[in-house]
């Protein structure tokens, strides 16, 4: 949530999404591609560390779980039920992937909302970058393709012809279904990126209102500033909900797509 006061004295709500290399700008490279360790990478690592610490609590493996272990088991059980409900008993095989996906996105979203600006740090939500969400979406899509073609071979294409399609309609329906199928990775990646970006921009714009109205005078500060601040509190709560829902939607859609690949229709 870093603020940058531009030349005109305006607050740039997009600056929070700027990627700043922390180290390795010059030396870290693979095959000519620069892979500098950025603030984005730092928050990815932070997400992994938090998730790993969370999971450690679930590894006590006691017969009667404590609170922490019960919390971890609730999360794995949630994803396990999601896959069993959407894919069937075979869905259990995909629990490791969908659980990783869900928890990784969920913690990334929530960590990005932490009010660390109060202590001078700049939280960064890497799920607000389509370069990151796109990789996750392409990964899910690739798994669907691999599972689909591996299990059903070319029969997988029957996914694009729903049952009961009249024969003359098959070419058109096939095309439409194929396009809607190919759009999946884009919609999957863009949905998360847009939801995160929009929420953070909205919060930053309202925060800019609070600062600019207060700078304009006590009267503006008490009217525009206070009401904007009240709105921010509500929207912050809403954003936490969005953070959870977007992670859930990503996991849910992935499991639905896996269901298509496993069971065809």
């Amino acid at each position: 949530m870093g603020f940058r006061v531009a030349e005109s004295g305006k607050i740039d709500p997009m600056h929070q999404f700027a990627i700043e290399p922390l180290f390795g700008t010059d030396q870290l490279a693979i095959g000519g591609y620069n892979i500098a360790f950025t603030n984005s990478a730092l928050w990815m690592v932070a997400t992994v560390v938090v998730l790993w610490i969370f999971m450690i609590g679930g590894m006590k493996r006691e017969l009667v779980p404590g609170r922490w272990q019960a919390a971890v088991e609730t999360m794995t059980g949630f994803i396990s039920n999601l896959l069993t409900a959407n894919v069937g008993p075979e869905g259990k095989r995909y629990v490791p992937y969908v659980f990783s996906l869900f928890m990784f996105i969920l913690l990334a979203n929530l960590l990005g909302l932490l009010p660390l600006g109060l202590v001078g740090l700049h939280p960064f939500t890497f799920t607000s970058h389509f370069t990151a969400t796109g990789v996750l979406a392409v990964m899910s899509f690739a798994i669907v393709l691999i599972v689909g073609f591996w299990r059903h071979g070319l029969h997988f294409f029957s996914l694009f012809v729903p049952h009961g399609t009249p024969v003359p309609m098959i070419p058109f329906i096939f095309l439409i279904e194929l396009v809607s199928f190919m759009v999946r990775p884009f919609s999957l990646g863009l949905r998360l990126f847009v939801a995160m970006t929009a929420g953070h921009v909205l919060l930053k714009v309202l925060a800019g209102f609070v600062i600019n109205s207060t700078n304009a005078g006590a009267g503006f500060g008490l009217t525009v500033g206070l009401s904007s601040f009240a709105l921010m509190i509500g929207i912050s709560a809403l954003e936490m909900l969005v953070a959870v829902i977007q992670a859930y939607v990503f996991a849910l859609l992935t499991s639905l797509y896996i269901n298509d690949a496993v069971n065809l229709h």
């Binding site: 990815m44 590894m59 088991e73 794995t76 490791p96 370069t131 990789v135 996750l136 990126f193």
Partner: protein, 164 residues
């Protein structure tokens, strides 16, 4: 929008670090830890199901034992009742036999006593005859001065006794 403005210089770094971090999450946490946690949950569910099964079996066994106990109780009662009835019947038979034996004894004693009485009365009659004959002879001697033979006196007394 930095997401688009910076894409050329950052996409490689973004993709690399995301694959690295998510790869760690998937291989270490997803494949390493999640199955163990799922196994713990599964083991717990199995233990609960097993315990419930054991409890159900124990309940059934308890019912069985109770039914068994009831049956034993009823059997014991029936046996006791039978023994009591048997004992009562035995006692009644014993009493009857004893009463019968005593009756016989009493009847025997009565018969003996009656025979004794008869014998006594016969001997008493004979005595009376004898005395009466003596008295008759005395009377004959006193009145007539004759001496009647004992045989005649006895005949006379007998005749008189028969006539009463």
């Amino acid at each position: 929008m930095p997401q688009i403005a910076q894409i050329a210089e950052t996409y490689a770094s973004q993709i690399f670090w995301l694959l690295l971090t998510f790869g760690f999450v998937f291989f270490v946490i997803g494949l390493g830890m999640v199955p163990k946690i799922e196994a713990t949950v599964g083991a717990r569910d199995a233990k609960i199901a097993g315990d419930l099964e054991t409890a159900k079996a124990a309940f059934a066994r308890a019912d069985e034992i109770e039914a068994d106990y009831r049956k034993h109780d009823a059997d014991a009662r029936a046996a006791a009742q039978a023994r009591i009835a048997e004992a009562k019947a035995q006692a009644a038979r014993d009493t009857e036999a004893k009463v019968k034996a005593t009756d016989a004894l009493v009847a025997e004693k009565i018969a003996a006593a009656e025979a004794e009485i008869r014998a006594a009365s016969t001997s008493a009659m004979a005595e009376i005859e004898h005395v009466a004959a003596d008295a008759a002879r005395d009377m004959v001697a006193k009145i007539s001065g004759l001496s009647a033979s004992p045989e005649a006196a006895r005949q006379a007394v007998k005749a008189a006794l028969v006539h009463g």
